[in-house]
Amino acid sequence: MTLARTDYRAVVVGAGILGLYTAYHLARAGERRLLVVDRGRLSAGGSGRNGGGIRQQWETRSTIRLAREAVAAYRRFGREFGHNVWFRQGGYLFLAGTPEELQRLARVRDAGRSEGLPVRLVGTDEVERLVDGIVPGACVGGCYLASDGTLYPYPAVWGLYEAVVALGVEVALGVEALGVRRDDRGKLAEVLTSSGGVSSPTVVNAAGGWSGEFSRRCGLDVPNVATRHDILATEPVKPFLDPMVVRVSDGLYFSQSMRGELVGGLSVSHPPGTQAGVPSSPRFVTAMASALVGLLPRLAGLGVLRAWAGFYDDTPDGFPMIGEDPRLPGFVHANGFGGHGFMLAPSASRRVASSVLNEPVDLDPREFSPARFLGPGAAPSSERLQLG
């Protein structure tokens, strides 16, 4: 495949939700000569493999702000992009198994309330009402926000893809970004791809699970770790569950999609860096089944249709990396979302675009700047609600 030009204003690596949204914001800001490359097809990576959860309950106020903005964007997505994502705001319910976990959820509630969200702690009776058939005594309580929800991820990718193409962005699928070349002053000069090199003052690393690999190909030592996560979907049944349910102790999460399938996963550890095209693992499928049936015994009769896996792009402190890498001017990070890129993409990508355009970015650099991993000393806080 040959690219349309040899010089671009910006090259975005990754045609997932983050990369496409970033290209969209840039094109809307009037930028031309934009290129998005992806070595796979659309929805082949995390944007086509996630469970579609969209939540605003977090431990840090900065993430809550991004999440609120994202929820508003997904609410209007169908009208804006011509594709229904069927964003259903059935709530997110975190379950605490111990008083300590409930204390932690109280902090989540406090953080949400300080941002004006009606997050509330719920007792076991309300948990039993929200999750019909849950085993009595399965939890000591929970934390709930009704305006969180789930969506159907694929149409978001289609809608954005068609929108950016209509805006004149070149989307080259099946083209792999191989690295970059610097000029004499150390600034970004050229992006090397499997279809040849193109000159560009900016490259955006939105490669999801492969972003660490791409940064390192560009000579940047980054702490991103690709962590494999499995997920399964059951046969579709009539609606019986409104909220996304997340258990704090083991990261078990599940919700019922608009198609009626129960979709969920569990934090099962796998060796890091497992290959792409990942088959689901037997220990995940059986552990997930065991956890689900343990919590909702009547699900024992529900059939699993398929299981698959994808990658979380994890950082040490649980915050993503948004912004220019100080070691390589022109190299902009849009990665490290730890499995939550889809839910934060509409708002996070706005900041990525601002960073490309050298506009001010309204994010705490101690939490989001790639520079935070470079100097001595750790980040002041961390976003530890890396569940569901």
Partner: protein, 552 residues
């Protein structure tokens, strides 16, 4: 067996008597053609299609558990069986009005977006309509089982002719193979394989790889064998010989999803449905088998191309007309087919063949999902028009340790290796193989190409599980989405309860025409585990079997 007391189960408000060995479907079929459910999106009538556990036309709720294949599930005394996805009943379903109100379907991807205030209404209504069956009332009764794991050197999957021959040859060579066979020992379709002394038989089971081999880790495989009660056994084995056979494929035309349109598998199974006044579609060996079985029940034979002499002779004996080089336009009827409409060959108009059953016997597809899931390379074969595992002349696939024999590896009517040759090569992997022979060109591609050029009306259901229409495939291609993997995500084709067994082969051929390239260039989908819906309860019960190696 004959002296066993009769069993009775409830179906809706009535009580049904079952004979020993009956499946639920067989017992219901004795009272006439059963209406069991409506389709997922448009509430179109649905009925049994295959009778061998592949399709989703015979799903029922049994003892509070949804989506049970009534053609596989033995009828047991006291069972409570209910129809699904219809109100008040599959025959008179109120939501069936949707099908009439939306003659060309509804575009849930792009439509239903405005006005903004209506979005929650669309969403609420859409959510109510989605899903097939209701969530289980309670956990199912689990019959007690023995050990849930086996370890063996060689596992043969499929106990048909090829599988049985290979199993027997293995035993003669001193092996103790494990044989997984889908039919149960009390199957109406014949008792499945008799136990070969020296081999262990797990009857009534369907296999899926739980742990597909990765390159460079050739230390064996973990198979999950699921039985008709949705109970599982873990099989650890070093060699897997797939003899999973073939099944009759579907055909897309207007109303191809109407009850009464069935595949030859159902006509030849012992499900006992009333199959008089049948039109057979297909002019080859499979059509001949249907003519032999149904005899005077067949009223006409229709084929895309020429009809083979043996079918011509059989039709002459039955004094029934033949329609070679013909194109099916649509099925006529509402809740059941009343006629099959064909295009006139001389170019002018259509004509109808009155019938109560349309038997699709035109194309026999390999049951090769397991081979692909195991990572075997695939090759497209134009007749019948399907991906087969790439095998050498001895059944060796591209994955060391996985073999494929019989009609899962070689199209019907073409010679494969003898069982003794396969076993000799399994036991001595160095054995050289003869090269495979080339096959004839496709009749299906020109058939569908002609069809796509014609003006169309009504619903052409490509994927009966999810009610995906031909127009949705065309729209996806028109918008630039290419290849089956992407179009599957775009339209939902192949994501339903039958795991794409019926729609994907059709969709791949149709897409190849729409995209103007060879079918194999459009790629294929990943075969994800499990290959058959497997209950959470069965999977949870296997957790302990895996624990020693799990370490989580």
């Amino acid at each position: 067996m004959a002296s066993a007391p009769p069993r009775r189960f409830r179906f809706g408000r009535s009580e049904v008597e079952a004979r020993p060995g009956d499946t639920i479907l067989a017992a219901l079929a004795r009272r006439g053609w059963p209406s069991l459910a409506r389709s997922i999106r448009y509430h179109r009538p649905r009925g049994p299609v295959c009778g061998v556990g592949n399709c989703t036309g015979c799903l029922v709720r049994v003892n509070g558990v949804p989506n049970v294949r009534s053609c596989r599930r033995p009828a047991r005394d006291g069972d409570v069986v209910r129809s699904e996805n219809s109100w008040p009943s599959p025959r008179f379903d109120l939501f069936g009005a949707l099908d009439l109100l939306l003659p060309n379907g509804v575009d849930t991807l792009h439509g239903l977006r405005r006005p903004a205030w209506a979005a929650p209404l669309y969403q609420g209504f859409g959510r109510r309509l989605a899903g097939f069956g209701r969530v289980p009332d309670r956990s199912p009764d689990v019959p007690a089982r023995g050990s849930r794991s086996r370890t063996t050197e060689v596992t043969v999957v499929g106990g048909g002719r090829s599988g049985r021959a290979v199993t027997e040859a293995l035993v003669r060579s001193g092996e103790h193979p494990l044989l997984l066979e889908r039919r149960s020992t009390t199957d109406p379709d014949g008792p499945g394989p008799a136990l070969t002394p020296g081999a262990e038989l797990l009857p009534g089971t369907t296999a899926t790889f739980l742990d597909p081999p990765r390159p460079g880790e050739g230390s064996g495989f973990t198979l999950l064998a699921i039985d008709d009660d949705a109970q599982g056994v873990l099989v650890r084995t070093r060699t897997v010989i797939l003899a999973t056979g073939a099944y009759d494929g579907s055909l897309v035309f207007e109303g191809s999803d109407r009850p009464g349109v069935i595949t030859a598998d159902l006509a030849l199974s012992g499900a006992g449905l009333p199959l008089g006044e049948s039109v057979v579609v297909g002019g080859g060996a499979r059509a001949r088998a249907v003519l032999d079985r149904l005899g005077p029940g067949v009223t006409a034979v229709v084929a895309f191309g020429e009809i083979v002499p043996e079918v011509v002779r059989a039709a002459a004996d039955l004094q029934i007309p033949l329609y070679p080089r013909s194109r099916v336009v649509r099925s006529v009827g509402h809740a059941h087919v009343r006629a099959l409409e064909l295009a006139r060959r001389d170019g002018g108009g259509t004509f109808r063949l009155p019938c109560r059953t349309v038997v699709l016997a035109h194309r026999r597809l390999p049951n090769a999902q397991l081979a692909f899931q195991g990572g075997a390379r695939r090759r497209w074969i134009d007749v019948p028009g399907a991906y087969y595992p790439e095998v050498d002349g001895l059944g060796r696939t591209s994955v060391p340790g996985i073999w494929a024999v019989g009609s899962a590896a070689t199209p019907s009517g073409r010679a494969g290796p003898a069982a003794e040759q396969v076993v000799a090569a399994v036991l001595d992997p160095g054995t050289p193989a003869p090269p495979p022979a080339p096959g004839p060109p496709s009749e299906l591609v020109p058939y569908y190409r002609e069809l796509l050029d014609e003006p169309r009306h009504g619903k052409w259901v490509v994927c009966p599980c999810e009610d995906v229409l031909l127009g949705e495939l065309e729209a996806a291609v028109a918008r630039g989405y290419r290849g089956i993997e992407l179009v599957m995500r775009y339209t939902g084709v192949g994501t339903g309860l039958c795991q794409g067994r019926y729609c994907l082969p059709e969709a791949i051929v149709l897409l190849s025409i729409l995209e103007g390239r060879a079918p194999a260039e459009g790629g294929f989908v990943t075969q994800r585990p499990p290959l058959v819906p497997t209950s959470l309860g069965a999977l949870a019960a296997l957790r302990e079997e895996l624990l020693p190696e799990a370490g989580t």
